[in-house]
Symmetry: C2
Subunit: 151 residues, 2 copies
DNA sequence: GCAAATAGTTGTATTATACAACTATGAAAC
DNA sequence: GTTTCATAGTTGTATAATACAACTATTTGC
């Protein structure tokens, strides 16, 4: 069971955050592009939720994409403090191309799963991840258990 | 499918590499303690394999544990260049305590999985991880596909 | 015995990440 | 309407993991 978690950690490293996937875009950056693309625009606050990182990190992760001209940051209509992200034309192009590349990657994974079991595998993963997340939250709340947890 | 991978990345972050789990030990550090504990001693080269990181990183990850007196580094008998790691008494104690803490964490996860499906869930995860790893290796080898992969 | 390979360490640079501090703005209280 | 408190997002700063490069001492191959 512990080995599952360790293996998960390692496996995810093959999709390294800082490793360029395609078109000079990392997987994480694609996630950002995709999130913006889905809604045609995206509040920074929403991106903050999507990425599940600190606000400062959200800003920093979006900045290279803005610098590259794939995304533009605009003022939000409802709140002058808030920013809205949109894809540029180039951003849409790059998003589409990376998506194609990613699709073949994902197909490659799927092709290796037994055909009748794919849905079950995905469901199982989701169930496990939900359990992992929940157990972690409970851990943080429980504070000191029967051990000398320094948290 | 992509959302699975993204969720995996996020979930694994709840077992943050640098986040203290118990007894001032991170999960990754526990992995090291456990690896050393299992063989009573462990070559640095083996630890290098276990952690699947660069040799320099292996050294750096082991060093805090040595500094803390949980692990000692000795010369290997078969090769003066090589080092062997052993647990100290304190290291064994800490390993045992963290393991207990970890066990209840793992139990907490298991308890949330439907009882009859646990084995299937774990098998599914392993299958998926294998596929993910393989697809990544193929990707690195394929070089340029039909897109402008800059790798 | 000599050349090539290697174990592991150290130097260095990069990246992600969070906490702290900050400014301008919005919301709540009066 | 005014004042106080909360907040969006940015910037400063520090930490940790990570890999590549360079290095030294040792081992291996010829």
């Amino acid at each position: 069971m512990l080995s599952i978690i360790v293996e998960l950690s390692k496996a995810v490293r093959c999709c390294r955050q800082d490793e360029v996937f395609c078109e000079g875009v990392t997987l994480n950056q694609f996630v950002i592009l995709d999130a913006v693309s889905r809604g045609r625009k995206l509040n920074m606050a929403s991106l903050h939720d999507v990425l599940a990182v600190d606000k400062s990190t959200t800003t920093r992760l979006a900045t290279p994409l803005i610098t590259r001209g794939l995304v533009v940051r605009e003022k939000a209509a409802h709140d002058s403090r808030a920013a809205v992200l949109r894809l540029t034309k180039n951003g849409e192009r790059v998003h589409g191309e990376v998506w194609q590349c990613l699709l073949s990657f994902l197909r490659s994974i799927e092709g290796q799963l037994p055909e009748g079991e794919r849905a079950a595998v995905f469901d199982g993963i989701r169930t496990f991840l939900g359990a992992l997340r929940k157990a972690s939250l409970m851990r943080c709340g429980a504070g000191a258990g029967s051990c000398g947890c320094a948290g």
